[in-house]
Symmetry: C2
């Protein structure tokens, strides 16, 4: 059976009107589906208003306890429930989840090496059976980028990685189509030209674009995640603009399609 | 089959150490169970820090949009997920829910009569089948005091009423034991004497205590809710101290037991 896993970033969430239109498109995707969302700027804004500083070490964001509380509130509460309530109004029976809910995504707190990232989770195990049970009840899981550990802590978790881990786990039982939605039309061969979308990306081409500098920065972990999903059993990975999610899923004609060979 | 529905108030949530000990007790209750939690003072504290005023009209709290966002964050995110993660550490497979999740508790925005309460929900329908499905998967639903309407709004909802509505809906299929936990040992015949617990309360006695003024204020809506649950099919209602939840459930010997005759 086919299953669609869609990841949306914070930029979709930050734009209320666009987000609503995205959710309407998403609700029209046929068959079982899962949404994984990122954080957006709201957490940073609320942290600022609460007088909580965003800690950075070597350019990396650190999740200390006050910031963990903020992301748990904002991602797990405000953002997640707003998406769920809107999807319900589009007749999609959404259920908002963090990894802790139903114990579906267990992590461990990232071990301290050079940097102590604080309450950040590295995913250990996805309970695909529990998620499949929800899908079987006609539910559409909506995941906040939060997981938990065995000690009862919530943990801040990268949404791209979480989408990949969920997609891979579900691939044991489903034919999984993973779609990363973001603010560009796809992976670009020329970062200056928004229309230079690479229609099909294979690993050797990816290496060439990395070497030439056309693919750089944040796209690299995103694509590493995406190729990992493919190599671990996900049937199809597409990276596209959030406005084109329906075309990408139903016709496979939008954005960049990743293939292993 | 037996089902235990436990409601805890904000006072339990506000005391971290006591809350943890309560959750440990709750996790040891045998058989399927559901937890419904109230809000606590954290929402008011965070609203204050964010510069959001608590609106009151005629002594009633109003939920305007900024306050709705705060309670959605705090009840649906921070409080709910903290309870879920802690229950997971006690080997209870908790799943945090608002009424919007899985569409389990549909409300409508309270109609404006003398007072416009804002984004407050009056419960219309509980999807007992969906909740029973979760119980069947070994899950323990943990409800935040939030529901939703058909227009995609989250709605602030009274936790006592929500516990009663869930208990009544589940009573179609289960033998439901509803336990309201609070900061007193039970319903008191003398409000000055914490040990004057009424062991069994019947409606005629309730009317007498109301007339004499021994039962007053916040206890009246709580007891009205509780008697409503009984008259609509819930098998047993107990009102007790949160520290005595285990005794109340397993032995039925703590707090005040409500009976119809």
């Amino acid at each position: 059976m086919k299953l669609t896993v869609v990841k949306i970033g914070g930029n979709v969430i930050d734009n209320q009107e666009f987000c609503r239109s995205f959710l309407q498109d998403f609700s029209q995707i046929e068959g079982p589906k899962i949404l994984v969302h990122g954080g957006g700027k709201i957490a940073t804004n609320i942290a600022e208003k609460l007088g909580i500083e965003t800690l950075m070490v070597d350019g990396r964001r650190i999740t200390d306890k006050p910031m963990l509380d903020v992301v748990t509130m904002v991602y797990g509460g405000l953002v997640n429930k707003s998406l769920v309530a809107q999807l319900q109004s589009f007749n999609t029976n959404a259920i908002g989840l963090t990894g802790a809910d139903g114990g579906v995504i267990l992590s461990r707190k990232r071990p301290v090496k050079e940097i102590d990232y604080g309450f950040v989770g590295d995913i250990e195990k996805v309970d695909s059976g529990q998620i499949a049970g929800m899908l079987g009840q006609g539910l559409t899981p909506v995941f906040a980028p939060l997981t938990f550990d065995r000690d009862g802590n919530m943990l801040n978790t990268n949404a791209d990685t979480q989408a990949q881990a969920v997609a891979v786990a579900m691939a044991e039982e489903f034919e999984v189509n993973l779609v990363y939605c973001f603010e560009k039309k796809g992976v670009l061969s020329n970062p200056e030209d928004d229309d230079s979308v690479i229609s099909t990306l294979i690993p050797s081409l990816y290496e060439q674009y990395k070497a030439s500098g056309a693919i750089f920065k944040g796209m690299i972990p995103k694509l590493d995640n995406a190729f990992k999903a493919l190599s671990e059993g996900v049937s199809q990975v597409i990276i596209c603009h959030a406005a084109e999610v329906k075309q990408a899923v139903s016709e496979g004609i939008a954005g960049t399609k990743l293939v292993l060979s």
